[in-house]
Structures are given as C-alpha cells and as structure tokens.
C-alpha cells in the first residue's frame, strides 16, 4: 500500500461506510432491540430506541410457551443430518473427480450443477404425494433426505474446487513410497483437505438452517424447524412483536456467527468456484 491516503478521504469513506453498514444492518438491530421490550413498548409511537424498560421476559416466555427448544432441536437435527450425509457421499465423489478425472468428469460436474437449478416447485407435487403416501410428511428422515439432495451438488462442487488445489506430486511421492490408496487417503489427503471440508460444512449448515421452501411445505409440527416456527407468527393472533423478535433473534443468532466466520468460503461455495 504505497498509495497516499489523505485524511479527508479517510474520514469521508469511514463515515460513508459506517452509515451504509448501519442502514443495512438496522432491521436486524431493531429486531434485537424490540426483543428486549415489553409488548406495549414494542408497539409504541413514537418508537422507543434505547430508553425503554429493558426486559428479558420475552426470551423466557418464548422458551417456555411455544416449544422453541423443540423447533431448535429440529433445525439442528436437519442441518447436521443433511450435512453428515452430504459429506459421506460427497467426499468420495469429489475425491474421485479431483484425483482420478476421466473424460466425463467435466460434464458430470456440470450436470450436477444443473440439478441445483431445477426450481423446487417443479417437483413439489410428486415429492409431496410420495411423502404423503409413504408417511414421510413431517418426519426428520424425509426432510433430511430432501435437504441432503438439495445441497449435494454444492457440497461436491465446493469440495472438488478445494481438492483440486492439493498438489498431485504429493500423492505421487506417497505412492512411490508404497502407500496404498487407503493410507494415502488417511495420512496424506485428509489432513490437507480439512480446511476445505470445514468450509463446506459451514456453508451447508447455513443453507440447511435457512431453507424455507421444503420445510414450509413438508412439515407441520413434529419435524418442523425454526423457519416454520417463525412462520407461525404470521397469523394475526400470533402478532406479539416482542416475542416474535425474541424468537427470531434466537433463531438467527447461531447461523449469524457461523456465517461471519465463513464469509470468504461462502463466495466460493455459492458461485461454484467461479469467483474466488
């Protein structure tokens, strides 16, 4: 950075940057503030910004009354379940495509990508009917499978772009030393692949946690994750803003933290490696 940066410029861009950031972040901030208000303060005009009666009762009520824990557990089961399945099937595939590519690897990868582009609404009817007839509606297993399939192309792609960056010479060397494919996988590849796998896990958890088409259409109560739980606040009788805010804050907090850690990898995962 040899460029000369004047103080005026620094001040201007800093002010502009913080203002833009504040405006974009504001709805989330407002939601968090509202979650600490009483219902009365939440509705008041003019709005109360900081000097209201701070309370944590909404969090207590949300925990107790509306089965928040039950839905949060469902979200965790769904996110972890679909990620584990995705890795179990995706790692071998990505490994094969990166280290033993054939003439067809390229078209296979692109075909996988194309499956992700099918709008879910195009297969809603049959999936719904299959689920209804096999008793999979509102079950963990059914929903995990759907999310697993929905995200598998992204998992394979992301792992593939990471695996491809592992130098092949290392494998050659290991092979010369007489390592078997199994040993190669455990002692050489895995340690080098862990950062890529970790990013893939993060992205997949974020996507599964926030997915709201299949969860809204295929679950009602038993297996319903937080997306569905929050949607239940849209009914007129459910309009308690402070409680809605508390439930929403709890629902997005864990993913927000994960997301902030994985910004860089996110770009790569979501653009299928087209922008790094």
């Amino acid at each position: 950075m040899a460029r000369r940066i004047t103080t005026t410029r620094r001040i201007t861009v800093t002010a502009g940057g913080w203002l833009a950031g504040f405006i974009i972040f504001f709805p989330i901030l407002w939601m968090v503030l509202t979650s600490f208000k009483t219902e009365l303060d939440a509705f008041s005009t003019p709005p109360q910004f900081l000097f209201f009666h701070w309370t944590t009762e909404n969090y207590a009520i949300v925990q107790h009354r509306s089965d928040y824990i039950h839905h949060a557990m469902n979200s965790i089961i769904l996110a972890v379940g679909s990620t584990v399945l995705g890795l179990a099937v995706g790692i071998p595939a990505a490994w094969a495509m990166a280290f033993a590519p054939t003439k067809r690897t390229r078209s296979t990868l692109l075909w996988m990508l194309s499956t992700k582009m099918m709008p879910p609404v195009g297969v809603l009817v049959p999936i719904y009917l299959i689920f209804r007839d096999t008793g999979l509606l509102d079950t963990h297993g059914g929903l995990i499978f759907v999310e697993f399939m929905a995200n598998l192309p992204i998992i394979v792609w992301m792992l593939y772009t990471y695996f491809k960056e592992i130098p092949k010479d290392i494998l050659e060397a290991a092979r010369m030393d007489g390592a078997t494919v199994g040993k190669e996988l455990v002692y050489v590849l895995t340690p080098m692949a862990i950062p890529g796998i970790a990013s893939t896990v993060l992205l997949n958890i974020i996507l599964a946690w926030n997915e709201a088409f299949w969860t809204l259409n295929l679950t009602t109560v038993k297996a319903a994750p937080l997306t569905v739980f929050i949607a239940s606040y849209s009914s007129p009788e459910g309009l308690f803003w402070a409680k809605l805010s508390a439930a929403s804050t709890l629902a997005i907090a864990p993913i927000m933290v994960l997301g902030w850690f994985s910004q860089k990898q996110l770009v790569r995962g979501l653009t299928f490696g087209a922008v790094k």
């Binding site: 582009m117 879910p120 609404v121 922008v275």
Partner: protein, 290 residues
C-alpha cells in the same frame, strides 16, 4: 496419469452421488410430466384420466398465469437492478480505507444469514406496519402520510425485502472480485491523474463484468423461486398482486388440490429456470477448463 485401478475406484466412489442425484432429478420430474397430462384432483381420488395437453392449455390461458409471470419477471428484474447497482456501489465503498472495515463488512453481509421467514416478518411488522411500524413514524416525522405497504404497494414491499436479503450476496462477490484487481494499476492511474469516473468505467467495470454476470445468473435462479417471503406476508394477495409462478403452483397444488394443473405449472417453471441455467452452466463450464 490415472491408472486403470484408480479410474475404476473413481467410478465406484462417485457412483452414489451420481445415482442419488439422478434419481432425485428424474423420478419426480417424470412424475410431474405424467401428472401434468392427467385430470387429477386430490379431492376426487380414483378419477384420474388422461387428457393430453389440456392442463397446459388451461394453465397458459389462465389470466392468473400471466399475472404471475409478470409478477415473477418484475420481482426478478427489480431485485437484480437494486442488488447489482447497490452491490457495485457498496463494494466500491467497502474497498476504501474505512476505519473498522471488518465490522462494517460484518454489518453489510449480515442480512444474508437471516432466514427468509424471519426477514419477511420483521420487515412486515416492525418496519412496514402502517401505524406502529418504523417507516410510518419516519413518514410522519417528515410530514408525509404513512402508507399501508402491503395494501398499497404489495409487490414493491416484497421486492424491498428480497432485495435486502440479496444485496449482501452481490456486495460480497463483487468485493471479492474487486480486491483481485491489480493494485499497481490503480496507483499508476492515480499518478497519471486519471479521473475516478473514467477509471471506473474503463478499468473497474470491465474487471467486474464476469463477477456481475455470475451474480445475475445465480440470483436469477434463486429469485425465480421466491416463496417463503410471499407465504408469510401476503399469501399471494391482495388478489393476485404478489403471486409469482412458484406461489401459483403451490396454491394450485396444496390449496386447490389440482395436481394436474399444478404439475403443468411446475413444468413451465422448470422451463423458465432452464433458460437461465443454460447460460450459467456454460459460463461456469468455461471457467472449469482454465
């Protein structure tokens, strides 16, 4: 370099992914196509009969279809314009020597991690409520009559919410692309006294062209299927004013139980998405060789 042994192993290892995805894609899609050719209503079980392309004729000549198609295109187009233009401007700003840039960056990308049902309800109630919402208060502050967002401008309200969710995505990707620009080029331009605007037009924009294309294509894929935001705020209304193709198909299938008609609509949605997908796959495929 791959030996016969590794090639075989590679096939075995990638088989589960390929088989599962193939089944996931082909079985429901084949069923959708088959249903779309039937008269099939869930309220009338056992009465299915083959009616050829009649469902398509009904669906495609239904005024609701054109309204939904128009809404879909307006929604996608408006969100794309807002997020791409806003994203470029924000990315340029974030690339500046801002004090506390890391924190500003976190604030800017935060909306992307908010689940759709949360962002829709927070906007609808806390911000856009005609009486107690924050926007109504701001309107009275500046002496304007507050509007009832979801009654007066329902589609625009949805556009705002969805654009807020996708602006961080565009910004993040464009910023990543911007940061790969040659630092020396910028320096040289600055020394030569190149005006900032012409540097932007002749150097920055061409450099960002690829990233912008990626943003447009990927966002389009997701925006064609916007559902949860409509589901929890307007339910497609008032009337059909916020019904897009995805919501129309959902309503046809799960609210009116018309499996045949909904399936025909689903196939139309697949075809629309495919038109975009072809371009995206080609673009990413090109990158794969490099």
């Amino acid at each position: 370099m791959a030996t016969q042994q590794t090639t075989t192993l590679g096939r075995i290892l990638s088989a589960p992914s390929i088989i599962l995805l193939f089944l996931w894609m082909i079985v429901p899609l084949a069923m959708t196509i088959w249903f779309s050719l039937l008269r099939y209503n869930l309220l009338d079980p056992g009465q299915e009969s083959f009616i050829g392309l009649l469902n398509y004729r009904y669906f495609l000549t239904d005024p609701a279809f054109f309204t939904a198609l128009a809404n879909t295109l307006i929604l996608v187009g408006a969100v794309l314009v807002i997020t791409v233009v806003g994203g470029v401007l924000l990315a340029l700003l974030m690339d500046q020597p801002i004090l506390g840039r890391g924190i500003v960056r976190l604030m800017v990308i935060a909306p992307f991690f908010v689940m759709p049902t949360v962002s829709a309800l927070v906007w609808k109630n806390l911000l856009m409520h005609p009486v107690s919402g924050l926007f109504a208060w701001i309107a009275t502050l500046i002496g304007v009559q507050p509007i009832d967002w979801f009654t007066n401008v329902p589609l625009f309200s949805i556009i705002l919410i969805v654009a807020w969710q996708w602006l961080p995505f565009a910004t993040l990707i464009l910023l990543t692309a911007l940061q790969s620009m040659d630092e020396e080029q910028k320096e040289a331009a600055e020394m030569d006294g190149t005006p900032a605007l012409s540097f932007f037009i002749y150097m920055t924009l061409p450099h960002l062209a690829r990233a912008i294309t990626v943003v447009i294509l990927i966002e389009t894929i997701f925006l064609l299927s916007v559902f949860a935001e409509i589901f929890v705020t307007t339910g497609g209304g008032p009337g059909l004013q916020t019904t897009n193709i995805a919501f129309l198909v959902y309503a046809q299938a799960l609210l009116q139980y018309d499996v045949g008609g909904a399936s025909a609509g689903g196939i139309v949605a697949v075809i629309l998405a495919n038109i975009v997908a072809i371009f995206l796959v080609r673009l990413i495929g090109k990158n794969l060789d490099a």
